[in-house]
Amino acid sequence: MSNDTRILYCHCVYAKVIPDETRRAVLAELSASGVAFDAVADLCEMSARKDPALKRLAGSGAVRIAACFPRAVQWLFHAADAPLPETGVDVFNMRDEAPADVVAGLSEGRTSEARS
């Protein structure tokens, strides 16, 4: 995995909308990879608290995010006064995407053709 892109993993702990096997598989791969990453218990909760960590993440250049629907993630950051930059952000949806695809995306990024 690349060392120059920040990685954010959301565990979505306060609702069971992400399959548990997906969360565990993605977190296990991240944990074993040796790359730096931030793991947060719940991105929604951080957004509601306007956690300054979101501002730091949004302002730190390229970032890959494993969480839920990209539209929700985009506006959760906005709601925290930490809008994500228009480029350099890849969001991987653990509600729908296979764990292997999320892990590969966190490692390699998403090609612009594949970005929805």
Binding site: N3, H11, C12, V13, Y14, A15, V17, R24, L27, A28, L30, S31, A32, G34, V35, A36, F37, D38, A39, V40, A41, D42, C44, E45, M46, S47, A48, R49, K50, D51, P52, A53, R56, C68, F69, P70, R71, A72, V73, W75, L76, H78, A79, D81, R95, S116
Partner: protein
Amino acid sequence: MSGKGRLDKDRLRVVLYEGPGAAPLADEARFETLVALLEDGHQVTRPAAGTAVAAADDSQHLVLGRFDDASAVNDAGFQSFDISDLDPAGVLEGVKARVSDVGADQPGGWKPWFPVIDYDRCTNCMQCLTFCLFDVYGVDGQQQIDVQHEDKCKTDCPACSRVCPEAAIMFPKYKKGPINGDVVREEDLQNESMKVDISALLGGDIYSALRTRQSEARQRFSTERDESKALLERKRCLAKLKKNLDIPDEVLMTLPSVGDIQDRARRAREKAERRQDRSQTMKDRRPTEDDWGI
């Protein structure tokens, strides 16, 4: 959590450290420790393996590691916590104790259920503000609709997203799209279970049907002197609505009248106008010593 823009207390940033002065963790121990901390609501930063730790921001950091020498971490101004002999449950207990010791905010205690506005879709029509029973919404200085009291939102109630004509309101923890943040498709906007006309919901069919049925049930069952039957009838009626719209009973039971809605809209408009007037007055008058804190 007590409303927008406020952190009651700082959160302690937990760092899982395996750099100079600390032995690496076994893969399974690292993973299970991460899971234990996340499940309890903590944020965990893992620096790249073998690198030194540096402050991510000005929040308090608690650096966990299997230390043989914690001086590098302590000298950098961080609090260290040696987890050499602890299993994941023991690590969690230790972290909770240290969070308490430093007076930082303990995570958990609130399911973060609140509306998130997609401003690419929002037309600022204010239907959500006028509909919401719990004062979750407000308007900002630019008269733009805004979520201002996330913690007042009724958990698991997506009612305001149902009345949004543009499907601009998301609840990321909701089960179905597009309310959960999935892409909005044309058919979603046409879908009756997604888009509920506010006048129908509050002043028309559903609301009046509910009231009528309540009234009829009351008359019928008062003759029979059996309140439990009336309650059952009311529950049946609500269950149908709940099934169709996913709106909790207690919200349906307290739907405001059309007059309430209009009154609430007027108050919101007046509040926004007063704020704008105050802002303009501040701009127009000459600054005084008080303005400069002298």
